[in-house]
């Protein structure tokens, strides 16, 4: 649809909207637009076209809006606009207890919920001063869940990367593989996403019956499927043609723009917080940090795929450790003032306090009932202060800045989300390139708008 009379776009004043000619694009009418622009002589006069890509565009990874200034097919200027998925997670957390905060922050970057929870819980645990008291079994399960989530997150980035280039097989194969990881997350936590599984002091519950067997079955079959996926993509001439040399961002640019994660490692710097500033006991696991030296979208793909292999390695070590330790250990800190909910179990009607715990508080101990009530309604108090816990998420450094005033609720929680930071680099990577290269460039950042907007 074209219109010769300019009409005001939402939010723009009449004067602004009247500047230049306005074409309203409604899909599959590009020929009409080009014809109308030709007729009006826009191309001959060197006019630039401003295109609003998004926020509802299939290849912008959610509700990302890109304001593009085009000269022919060349991107002269690109300005990402965000905020369409802002849900006030940080503000909401200030009105819930410390434990309930997990339920909110898990929803920030919805492709890596376990990472959001872990970053927040590590910061709360540092404020409480209980970092050394987390039971070993809980730490192993945390690492296990983090790496499972890293696999599903990376596949959730790589599969749409193919789809956006028109390669539906990459998407279907990648999504099927990702589903296997999600099945395991569901088996262990009960949910495919928004788990609220990592809690201050440990994890919500132990692995279910048959959990280790399911993990072993996953480990037996998945490496071959990952290998199959790599044979499909790695040397694919079309995939390489669309990604190699695209979205170039070198090390100094990464430093200036605060870019971390696979984008940084694709410049050749093996910076991984799991190695350099270990948490949850990562220093005791045997794994490598994959790097690439191309600084481009293809290098980022290779780094992500390499990390999937390394995550499988770590999961194997976790399973071996869990199997050798036996199920007797606790998965929650042995401090009854913090460990909530310490006695969860899966009953026929879902997850809830174990029948032993119910029998104890309802039939045996008045004090235990009072304590249970206080812990559930009031929560625990966290000494005043602030902490910043950073972990290596699939997208880069995920930091949780948590401030306490000594009360039962967080005074302030800020999630330093890697997607938010990395989206700033779109202009540096894409200006001067073709508009078609913008799609693999965005895909190589792997931004998730839930984390960007929070």
């Amino acid at each position: 649809m074209t219109s010769s009379t300019p009409h005001a776009a939402a939010g723009a004043s009449d004067a602004e909207a009247a500047e230049g000619r306005v074409y309203t694009v409604s899909g599959e009418d590009w020929d009409e637009i080009v014809a109308a622009a030709n007729e009006a002589g826009d191309f001959e006069s060197g006019e630039r076209i401003v295109v609003n890509m998004g926020p509802q565009h299939p290849s912008t990874h959610g509700v990302l809006r890109l304001v593009l200034t085009l000269e022919g097919e060349t991107v002269v200027e690109v300005r990402p606009a965000i905020g369409y998925l802002h849900t006030g997670i940080e503000k909401n957390m200030e009105y819930r207890t410390w434990t309930q905060g997990v339920t909110f922050c898990t929803r920030a970057d919805y492709l890596m919920p376990i990472f959001n929870e872990t970053a927040y819980c590590l910061a709360v645990e540092r404020l409480l001063g209980i970092e050394d008291r987390i039971p070993e079994r809980a730490r192993i399960i945390r690492v296990l869940m983090l790496e499972l989530n890293r696999i599903t997150s990376h596949l959730g980035g790589i599969a749409p990367m193919g789809l956006e280039l028109g390669a539906t097989t990459i998407y279907t194969q990648g999504a099927r593989l990702r589903e296997r990881g999600l099945d395991l997350l569901e088996l262990i936590t009960g949910l495919r996403m928004n788990h609220a599984f990592i809690r201050p002091g440990g994890v919500a519950q132990d692995l279910p019956l048959g959990g280790l067997e399911a993990l072993r079955a996953f480990l037996d079959t998945t490496p071959k499927l990952v290998h199959d996926l790599r044979t499909l993509i790695d040397a694919n001439p079309v995939f390489i043609g669309r990604n190699s040399g695209i979205a170039y961002l070198d090390l100094p640019s990464c430093m200036a723009l605060g870019v971390t994660g696979p984008m940084l490692r694709a410049t050749g710097l093996p910076w991984d917080l799991r190695k350099s500033q270990p948490y949850c006991g990562y220093e005791t696991y045997d794994f490598d940090v994959p790097v690439a030296h191309t600084c481009d979208a293809y290098g980022r793909y290779l780094v992500r795929m390499g990390e999937v292999d390394q995550s499988l390695r770590i999961i194997r070590q976790c399973v071996d450790r869990l199997a050798s330790r036996g199920p007797a250990d606790s998965v929650m800190i042995r401090d009854a003032k913090i460990g909530w909910p310490a006695q969860l179990s899966l009953g026929p009607d879902g997850l809830g306090p174990s029948s032993e715990h119910i029998a104890h508080i309802m039939g045996q101990s008045m004090e235990a009932l009072i304590h249970h009530f206080k812990l559930i309604t009031e929560g625990f108090r966290v000494p005043a202060g602030q902490a910043y816990a950073a972990i290596e998420s699939p997208r880069g450094e995920l930091g949780a800045h948590v401030v306490s005033d000594g009360g039962t609720r967080p005074y302030r929680v800020h999630l330093r989300d890697p997607s938010f930071t990395h989206l700033q680099s779109v202009a540096a990577m894409c200006e001067g390139g073709f508009v078609a290269d913008l799609i693999p460039a965005i895909a190589s950042i792997d931004p998730v708008m839930g984390g960007v907007d929070r």
Binding site: K91, A256, T260, D335, G385, Q386, D405, G406, R412, Q424
Partner: protein, 267 residues
């Protein structure tokens, strides 16, 4: 009713009549170790009892007769901490390097750093706002410091901290030395200006826009300080503590449940 009466059993069969609780016992060693420490985290903080009382009572309810007994509870002020040397860990080294780097340009350490806090394994420099860009540039460029990466800025609003209501907190990371440091600046709500760090760390661009959007801190020198998360025509700064949440009481079976900020609370 006639007939022989059943004698009630002494208790559930599985207790064996002993009356002892049948909860699964945690491994004794764990509990013993925790008790021996004597400082389980929830019992820490006796020192806070010496601090002034900022509020009495519970649930945020004021001015009504206390029938619960919770009115006697006191909430103590969290005193600002100030660390003295040695700070421990690599913190002394960082402070020394920063001091000499500042002195090379004629700025005294105490001019540029109001307060140093080494708490819970993290180092914080409190910087007067006019000195922020200089300190950040030194942190980035000095070979002994080399904090190449800034993790952005996070705002915090302390409405009770008169004259220092708005805080901006920066987290720096040195990949060269594998260290972290935090900078904190404050500005009064009446004059919410802080110099922008975009010139030193370009990554602060969006982070400062976000902090302006949510807290109303104006970063002087920012190339385009506009709202980023909220709509452009939004009024107010939602993450401030005094920002009305705009909730409406929800009626449920005749009772009104107030919006979150008016509900009873414990903290």
């Amino acid at each position: 009713m006639s007939g022989p009466e059943e004698t009630p059993k002494a208790g559930p069969e599985d207790t064996g009549g002993s009356g002892t609780p049948q909860r699964p016992k945690p491994p004794a060693a764990d509990v013993a170790a925790a008790e021996a420490d004597g400082d389980l985290p929830a019992r820490l903080g006796r020192a806070r009892l010496d601090a002034p009382v900022v509020r009495r009572g519970m649930f945020g309810v004021q001015g009504t007769p206390d029938t619960s007994g919770y009115g006697l509870l006191s909430v103590y002020e969290a005193r600002p901490i100030e660390s003295t040397r040695p700070y421990g860990s690599y913190f002394d080294e960082v402070a020394d390097a920063l001091g000499s780097a500042l002195e090379a340009t004629g700025i005294g350490f105490s001019d540029a750093i109001e307060r140093v806090v080494a708490d819970r394994g993290e180092l914080t420099f409190y910087v007067p706002r006019e000195r922020l860009p200089e300190v950040a540039a030194k942190l980035r460029d000095d070979p002994a410091l080399r904090f190449e990466l800034c993790s952005g800025v996070s705002g915090v609003h302390y409405p009770e901290d008169t004259g220092r209501e708005l805080h901006a907190v920066y987290h720096m990371l040195s990949i060269t030395h594998n260290r972290r440091v935090r900078l904190e600046v404050s500005a009064p709500a009446a004059d919410p200006h802080v110099p922008s760090l975009v010139g030193v760390y370009p990554t602060c661009n969006w982070h400062e826009r976000e902090t302006w959007d949510f807290f109303g801190i104006i970063f002087d020198g920012h190339p385009a300080l506009t709202r980023i998360e909220m709509p452009d025509d939004w009024k107010g700064h939602p993450q401030r503590k005094d920002y009305p949440l705009g909730g409406i009481p929800v009626e449920y079976r005749g009772a009104k449940i107030p919006p979150p900020e008016d509900r009873r609370h414990y903290s």
